[in-house]
């Protein structure tokens, strides 16, 4: 019900922007044209959407794992942090088109390179939040670890990690939002399927209504993924 209301509100807003801005339909088509394109191309959209969804889910899963590992590693040891931190930051400074030839050299034209881009985009907020969260454990709680002469990793598991959970949850919410755009950008690397592929193609052919239809599918995926993440985290009390 509420999702429906949100959807209708968004459509209305969109129509308003189109009407008020006077953008021509080849730049910003109205909702009616896009709905028509959605209906006409539903088979193509579904096929490409599924390809992208697979990249998103795989990439998000790997991104979380790598983000968790990087966050843990940098929070556990200051030396590792000094070494790894600049690399993590740099990984976010490289535009995909510079990376594309290297990715295909190493991973080929298959799903690998697209998943790699999703990983690259999603792991960073997770690593960053986990690091910050682990470092923000209250000093008083750490007294318990000092008294027990606990090694770092036990302190991590039993004191730091529980305190970092809310930070981590916030980062997961962000990563879920970034994953779909990561997959679309990843399809830049070279692809024969996927929403990003379809959008680039439609864009170059000025099939703006098809591009926005693909965008609508992508947007629906993003909202769905975000909502699912929210629900899952809330069930865990986060």
């Amino acid at each position: 019900m509420r999702a429906l209301a949100t959807g209708l509100a968004l459509l209305a807003l969109w129509q308003a922007v189109v009407s008020l801005s006077g953008a021509p339909p080849y730049i910003l088509p109205g909702p009616a044209a896009v709905l028509r394109a959605l209906a006409e191309n539903r088979g193509m959209l579904a096929r490409n959407g599924l390809a992208t969804l697979a990249e998103i889910l795989l990439g998000l899963g790997l991104g979380l794992l790598i983000g968790l590992a990087a966050g843990l590693a940098t929070a556990l040891s200051t030396q590792v942090e000094r070494l790894l931190r600049p690399l993590l930051v740099l990984s976010q400074a490289v535009p995909v088109f510079a990376l594309a030839p290297i990715l295909t050299l190493w991973l080929g034209y298959g799903m690998g390179s697209k998943v790699a881009v999703v990983v690259l985009i999603t792991f960073f907020p997770v690593a960053s939040a986990l690091h910050d969260g682990l470092r923000a454990t209250p000093e008083a709680a750490l007294d318990l670890a000092r008294l027990a002469r606990a090694p770092r990793w036990r302190t991590l598991v039993w004191l730091r990690l529980p305190h970092a959970l809310p930070h981590l949850a916030a980062a997961l919410r962000i990563a879920a939002v970034y994953a779909p755009i990561g997959a679309v950008i990843g399809e830049w690397v070279g692809s024969s399927a996927g929403l990003g592929h379809l959008m680039l193609l439609a864009n170059a052919r000025m099939k703006t209504d098809l591009m926005f239809a693909a965008l609508a599918v992508l947007a629906a995926m993003t909202l769905g993924l975000r909502a699912a993440t929210d629900r899952g985290l809330r069930r865990l009390g986060l």
């Binding site: 021509p24 080849y26 191309n41 295909t104 690397v189 070279g190 692809s191 864009n203 052919r205 000025m206």
Partner: protein, 294 residues
């Protein structure tokens, strides 16, 4: 071992002979398994071919000289589209009636990397210094930039596509052609390969099959379109249908045949305009596979 061919971009009518041959099963008939890869960035395929990730790459003749100058071990081994498609497009009813009118105006370009090679010469030929024009990289949006009036002209449009595109946006376009404005003629789409890694027999077989397809397309344009559009739902649209007819005349009838004079002349031209330090020998950048191997 499949033969990997990286196109210059997503599949479109420019790739007619390759797609038709694949759809007709002619590669298989010739004992070839062909893998067709479509990238989003035209700068990538030459790198793929040079590094051995692809056997053949589709690229543009002017870029071949840049690739050579930057040390990519590539040679042209065949031709796909044998004449320029590049054009500088303005609105037919707009203030730009000739290239001379571009003085003091804004020109949008897509990143092709050869604006100096083509556009600058075209402007100078019409008495306009490039410095008198404002160039803006509009990347993905050539036609929208022109149609919405944000650019007075766009460079790098393909005459077989963008004219139809702007018509769909409700304007009429006018194309200024490089070969009519001081640029030597060149081949728009060529196949390049790394000669050290190339399986010569396979490449020859591939090119022969595309020659057969090019002939078939010339003889049966309608039927060929029907075959082409069956490649995927994504390529089956009005714009490609309209572009198909405009593209046919440009396919190389004999893909392997090398016009050495043309390659020498364009190399000299690239050196003249300063994009490469010196014109390469033709043999350094191109080979004629129909000639017997040494």
């Amino acid at each position: 071992e499949p033969l990997t061919v990286v196109l210059d971009w997503f599949v479109n009518p420019d790739h007619g002979p390759i797609i038709v041959a694949e759809r007709q099963g002619w590669f298989a008939e010739a004992g070839l398994e062909v893998e067709i890869v479509a990238p989003a960035d035209p700068a990538d395929p030459p790198k793929m071919a040079a590094s051995g990730q692809a056997d053949l790459a589709v690229t543009y003749q002017p870029q071949l000289y840049l690739q050579h100058a930057e040390g990519l071990p590539l040679k042209r081994v065949g031709t796909l589209v044998e004449s320029p498609l590049y054009c500088v497009m303005a609105k037919a009813d707009g203030p730009v009636q000739g290239l001379a009118d571009l003085k003091g105006r804004k020109v949008g370009f897509s990143v092709a990397g050869i604006e100096e090679a083509l556009l600058h010469t075209m402007l100078r030929t019409n008495g306009v210094e490039p410095a008198e024009v404002e160039f803006v990289n509009v990347n993905f949006a050539l036609t929208p930039a022109l149609a919405s009036g944000q650019a007075d002209a766009v460079a790098g449009a393909f005459r077989n596509f963008e004219l139809h595109q702007i018509a769909a946006a409700g304007s009429e376009g006018r194309c200024f052609l490089p070969e009519e404005n001081g640029v030597p003629s060149y081949e728009e789409l060529i196949y390049v390969a790394n000669p050290d890694r190339m399986d010569r027999e396979k490449v020859v077989a591939f090119l022969k099959v595309t020659e057969r397809a090019a002939g078939f397309i010339a003889d049966h344009p309608e039927e060929a379109w029907e075959i082409f559009r069956g490649w995927s739902a994504e390529v089956d649209d009005d714009l490609n249908a309209a572009a198909w007819g405009d593209t046919l005349p440009h396919f190389a009838a004999h893909p392997m045949a090398l016009d050495a004079d043309r390659y020498a002349a364009f190399g000299r031209y690239m050196a003249e305009v300063g994009l490469i330090p010196a014109a390469p020998e033709v043999a350094e950048v191109a080979m004629d596979l129909s000639a017997p191997a040494d």
